[in-house]
């Protein structure tokens, strides 16, 4: 489902803050909610999406499925955006599809999934199964999961894009793995998106991959923004710095997410949660001033000092 500039602004009820990749001003921009452009198209994407790793893998549990649907409801009420999953994530795809159907297929979904099979010939079949699980006729973004047989799958995905059966193509990695190969694929192919691990303590991608993404005009999705909940848990007992108010931050999750999405090359962060309250805290990172480089360094320095 296409998320247009007009649709996003209407859904969010506010003027979207456009922060062009690579041209983030050195002063704060206070035009919430934050949406960032996909470099290959200019289409705006809300800066905080929704991951589904672990949290949405609830099988047939009716109580936990309701929690997932409730999170999705609030997600769409707050402007929606990217929801990301993978065939690797157990029942997550089915749970997302179920929730989206139950909510009446609300607009604002930027459907994102992955192909994850070692057999290249099995890729199209797996993608078709994934579309059925979500209940979508085509995905906004399909990525090659962890570079598994990326040669064959990229061929499939680019062909699907050329035929109009897919809007964007990407690749993923996580935990800082496979960066050398990842970089080579980024240099060789006209990718729309890359997904990688980036957070306030895992910053290796700042050295090569994020600058390369900006140079190649590739949108960046950041996974593990909280290191699977470890970072908010670690800082729970610590006070936010008094200057956090300057960037409109009231909670640690918003602080951590704001650091990520304020990087000029980053397009969207995808924290995963099954708690509505956590979703609200995450989405709050789209509001208020965007930290400039000096503020980002201050944020990272403060976390290092804890």
């Amino acid at each position: 489902m296409r998320l247009t500039r007009r649709g996003f602004m209407k859904g969010a009820g506010a003027v979207a803050g456009t922060v062009a990749a690579g041209t983030l001003p050195s002063v704060s921009v206070a035009t919430p909610p934050l949406a960032k452009p996909i470099p290959s198209s200019g289409e705006l994407l809300p800066a905080v999406g929704l991951g589904s790793w672990i949290t949405f893998n609830v099988g047939n549990d009716p109580v936990l499925r309701k929690q997932c649907t409730a999170v999705m409801r609030v997600f769409f009420e707050r402007g929606g955006g990217m929801i990301d999953s993978s065939p690797m994530y157990g029942s997550s795809q089915e749970v997302i599809g179920d929730g989206w159907q139950k909510l009446g297929r609300p607009s604002g979904l930027f459907s994102t999934d992955k192909v994850w099979t070692s057999a290249g010939a099995h890729g199209p079949e797996q993608i078709a199964e994934t579309e059925a699980l979500w209940g979508v006729s085509r995905f906004d973004l399909m990525q090659v999961h962890n570079l598994v047989n990326w040669q064959a799958h990229l061929e499939t995905l680019f062909a699907m894009k050329a035929e109009g059966r897919l809007r964007y193509v990407g690749i993923t990695t996580s935990h800082g793995r496979q960066h050398r190969e990842f970089e080579q694929v980024m240099r060789r192919y006209p990718l729309d998106f890359v997904q990688l691990t980036y957070n306030i303590v895992d910053r290796a991608v700042e050295q090569r991959l994020l600058p390369l993404a900006a140079e190649r005009r590739i949108a960046v999705i950041c996974n593990r923004p909280f290191r699977r909940g470890e970072l908010p848990d670690r800082f729970q007992g610590e006070k936010l710095p008094s200057w956090a108010a300057e960037i409109g931050v009231e909670t640690w999750p918003a602080f951590l997410l704001k650091f990520i999405v304020s990087h000029p090359a980053v397009t969207v962060a995808i924290p995963a949660t099954r708690q509505v309250e956590h979703l609200r805290e995450n989405k709050a990172a789209e509001f208020g001033p965007v930290p400039d480089e000096a503020m980002r360094q201050r944020m990272a320095g403060y976390v290092r000092s804890l």
Partner: protein
């Protein structure tokens, strides 16, 4: 499929959270009610009969235990656990294989139980049955979880497997029993790793119980070969 295995930790292979995992047992107990009660009562009845000197043959116990493995493999491992862990859909084959082996070896007379009057073997068996029947359901309470999440013999895999270890302790250390030790070792090992990845102390408990059961089987029958028919 995954490059650079050395960079992965145990947690990286965990596909679900603790709440989702423990609720599997609550849902299964609820959906299968009163199966949990029946298996619990049957287990206690079996223990009482054994204490009073009943020595059922492998021809009876083998197929019975086999049916329970088939049931748990299909009902819990494949149907309940499978949707959140695609690995267990494949692992359910372990349960079907073990179920068929128990039934086949039992019916063919190769599963020989109570070949000697060795007291230590019976004591070890009683302890393992007690763990499967009584301790496993109580783990939920020890852990501060709702009692509905209790793991019950004949419904949940771990106590079912531990009860089987209790049965195998009574079998001579020969090839039929050796083959039947494979599935318990694999399942309890994987179960323990899963629990440890969730930072659940029950992982150490599971490993300890398997080690105790396997060691008892290795140690006790070696001294009590006894006559074989």
């Amino acid at each position: 499929m995954i490059a650079g295995w050395s960079t992965y930790s145990l947690k990286d292979f965990l596909l679900f959270g603790p709440e989702t995992y423990w609720r599997l047992f609550a849902l299964e107990n609820q959906d299968q009610w009163p199966v949990a009660l029946v298996t619990l009562a049957a287990g206690l009845g079996l223990v009482a009969a054994l204490v009073r000197g009943w020595q059922p043959s492998g021809r009876l116990i083998g197929p019975l235990a086999g049916l329970i493995w088939l049931w748990v493999g299909w009902q819990f491992v494949f149907q309940r656990y499978g949707p959140i862990n695609w690995v267990t859909e494949d692992l359910s084959i372990l349960f079907y294989t073990q179920g068929l082996l128990l039934a086949g070896l039992g019916i063919s007379g190769k599963l020989r139980l109570f070949r000697t009057g060795e007291r230590h073997a019976k004591a070890a068996s009683a302890v393992l049955f007690a763990i499967a029947l009584a301790i496993y359901p109580l783990l939920a309470l020890f852990d501060g979880r709702a009692w509905q999440t209790a793991q019950v013999l004949g419904v949940a895999p771990d106590p079912t497997v531990v009860a089987t270890l209790g049965l195998l302790v009574l079998a001579p250390r020969r090839w039929p029993a050796a083959i039947l030790q494979i599935a318990p070792a694999l399942w309890l090992g994987i179960s323990a790793m899963t629990l440890l990845a969730m930072d659940a102390w029950q992982g150490w408990f599971t490993l300890s119980v398997w080690l105790a059961g396997f060691t008892a089987w290795l140690a006790i029958p070696a001294r009590m070969r006894g006559p074989t028919p």
